[in-house]
Structure formats: C-alpha cells, structure tokens
C-alpha cells in the first residue's frame, strides 16, 4: 500500500498537468464569455506543455548545453527533443490566441456582445429576418 502511494505521488508533475488540463477544459466548455474561453484554451495548452517538458526532465540533470568538459565529468542533461517541440508549440499557441481574439473583436463589432448565448440568439434572429426579406423579394 505504501509502495503504491509512493508510486502515485512520485509523478506529481503529470497529476498537476491533468488537473490544469481539466481546469482549462471547464473554462472552454462551461463559460459563456468568449474571452474567458480563450483564457481556458491558454491554460489547456500550457498543461500539455507541462506534460511534454516533464517527459524530458532528468533527475539531478542540468540544462542541455553540452560541452566537452561536461561530458567528461559525467554530468547528466535533460532530453532536448521535447524542448524543441514545445518551443514551436508556444509560438503556435500565441498565433492561435491572436487569431481567436481578432475573431472575437469582429463578433463584438457585429453583434455588440461577447457572450456566446446572446450572439447565437441575435444571429438566429438576423437569419430569420434575412430569410423573410428574401421571400418578399
């Protein structure tokens, strides 16, 4: 039993990653405000980054800046492959956020609100009147 508990709590980075992922998912799904959804999306992305960086970390290691002397002294260093992947993913996440925010600003200009339910209501009303005017013509 003690062995089991120690085994579970040794990998606490992954548990925190899953927790953050679920917090961000709640923000995306349950919140009505569009900017709040984008904040949830950001938290979700950071949770995935935390998972990947934790995969590459080495206990007692150093940063992967390899030198001849460091190798001869037998130091360990972290796996740099997840770092490269996540470096790209951070830039992609900023681009995603910027595109989403530009869409939110455009919707606010069109409908005057950033609450999702009000936008759906207004857009369905506008669609109906558009249909009616089409029929009249």
């Amino acid at each position: 039993m003690e062995w089991f508990i120690a085994k579970i709590f040794a990998k606490y980075n992954y548990w925190v990653s899953i927790l953050l992922m679920m917090i961000g998912f709640y923000g995306i799904v349950a919140k009505d405000n569009l900017i709040k959804k984008i904040l949830g999306l950001n938290i979700f992305q950071t949770a995935i980054f935390l998972y990947f960086i934790s995969l590459g970390a080495v206990k007692g290691g150093t940063a992967p800046i390899v030198d001849e002397k460091i190798i001869q002294k037998g130091y360990l260093y972290a796996n740099p492959l997840p770092h490269v992947l996540i470096l790209t993913a951070i830039v992609v996440s900023v681009a995603t956020t910027a595109v989403a925010l530009s869409l939110v600003i455009r919707m606010h200009r069109e409908y005057g609100t950033i609450e999702e339910s009000e936008i759906i209501k207004k857009s369905s009303e506008g669609h109906q009147t558009g249909e009616n005017s089409k029929v009249h013509h």
Partner: protein, 81 residues
C-alpha cells in the same frame, strides 16, 4: 528540511488557474494569466529547459497578455452574470 520548490510552484499555478477561470472581471483575469505564465516559465527553468523558459517569459507572459488587454479594450471588461 529542504523545501521542494517545484511543488510550491505547481501549487501556485493550480491556484492561479482556478482563480483565472472563476473571476468575473476579465482584466484582472488576464493579469493573473500573465502571472500564471511567468510561474510556468519558472517551472520550466526548474525542469532544466531554459530555452523554453525564456521563450515563455517573453512570448507567453508578455505578448499574450498585451494581445488580451488590447482585445478587452476593444470589447467589454465585465463578464455578464
């Protein structure tokens, strides 16, 4: 007793994430998201990935916060209800 700094940072990150989702004032939520990103950068330096750490500090905590504040300035500050 040695204080495990990574555990403390992870605890702060979870508290900040919950607060960001719960807050009704979008501007303070965005500022707290900047603090969250900066703590994430500290976690990544602690996990031996310094390059990801300073990219996150510059891009995540800096540029994303600026974009979000600009978007809030063009829309509304308060979440309804």
């Amino acid at each position: 007793m040695i204080i495990p700094i990574d555990l403390i940072l992870l605890l702060f990150v979870v508290i900040l994430a919950i607060t960001v989702i719960r807050l009704k004032d979008l501007l303070s939520a965005v500022i707290l998201l900047g603090a969250y990103s900066f703590l994430m950068a500290l976690i990544w330096v602690e996990l031996q990935s310094v390059d990801v750490g300073f990219t996150e500090a510059a891009v995540g905590a800096g540029a994303t916060t600026a974009f979000l504040i600009a978007a809030i300035a063009r829309t509304t500050r308060w979440e309804k209800e």
